[in-house]
Symmetry: C2
């Protein structure tokens, strides 16, 4: 069970992505930014039953997990999705799935089925 | 921004999966169970710097998120991975990525590039 040891930096990154996506409001923000790149916190808050300040706090957490980027355009920052951390999360899940498939293959082999 | 509204049940399920995978110990347990289906809490704890009791608590959280199944075999329960919730998490991320690609395509079209 060699992999059962303290997290690497890359592993911690994936953890931050999963933690960010665990919250329903943050998942809604990710979906909204996927559909409308360059949206402001004010515009994002307009579609939600929470304050602009609460949205800004969630955006900060998404930013810390690497899931959004911001750039200032006039008075208010515009946000966009960063897909690389999503790809890393999918890669982690994919590796687990591949390992699982391999384990099942070994078990089938040991049971003598083809 | 039609999708920015309270979570559906399916959405909550994906949230539970992301929350379960946010913790490094639980990710290690998922990796260990992918590699060795049918492992007991005692065997899982042997490879980790935490107690069997702590491992059992994490396994309970994975169970609640639908990520593991347990079956009793003799004195101690054996755990196995359940991959369906992982597939749902990948599907959610994939839908976000597809939406993002489509948005970028529209922006490129609006800018007149081919």
């Amino acid at each position: 069970m060699a992999s059962l040891h303290p997290s690497t930096t890359a592993d911690a990154g994936v953890g931050a992505v999963f933690a960010a996506l665990a919250d329903p409001t943050r998942r809604h923000l990710v979906e909204a930014l996927a559909a409308r790149p360059g949206t402001t916190a004010t515009a994002l808050a307009a579609g939600l039953p929470i304050s602009r300040q609460a949205v800004a706090k969630h955006l900060k957490q998404l930013d810390e997990a690497g899931l959004v980027s911001r750039r200032r355009r006039g008075r208010e920052a515009q946000f966009a999705l960063e897909t690389e951390p999503l790809a890393e999360a999918v890669a982690w899940i994919g590796a687990v799935g591949a390992e699982w498939d391999e384990s099942l293959g070994r078990l089938r082999g040991a049971l003598g089925s083809s």
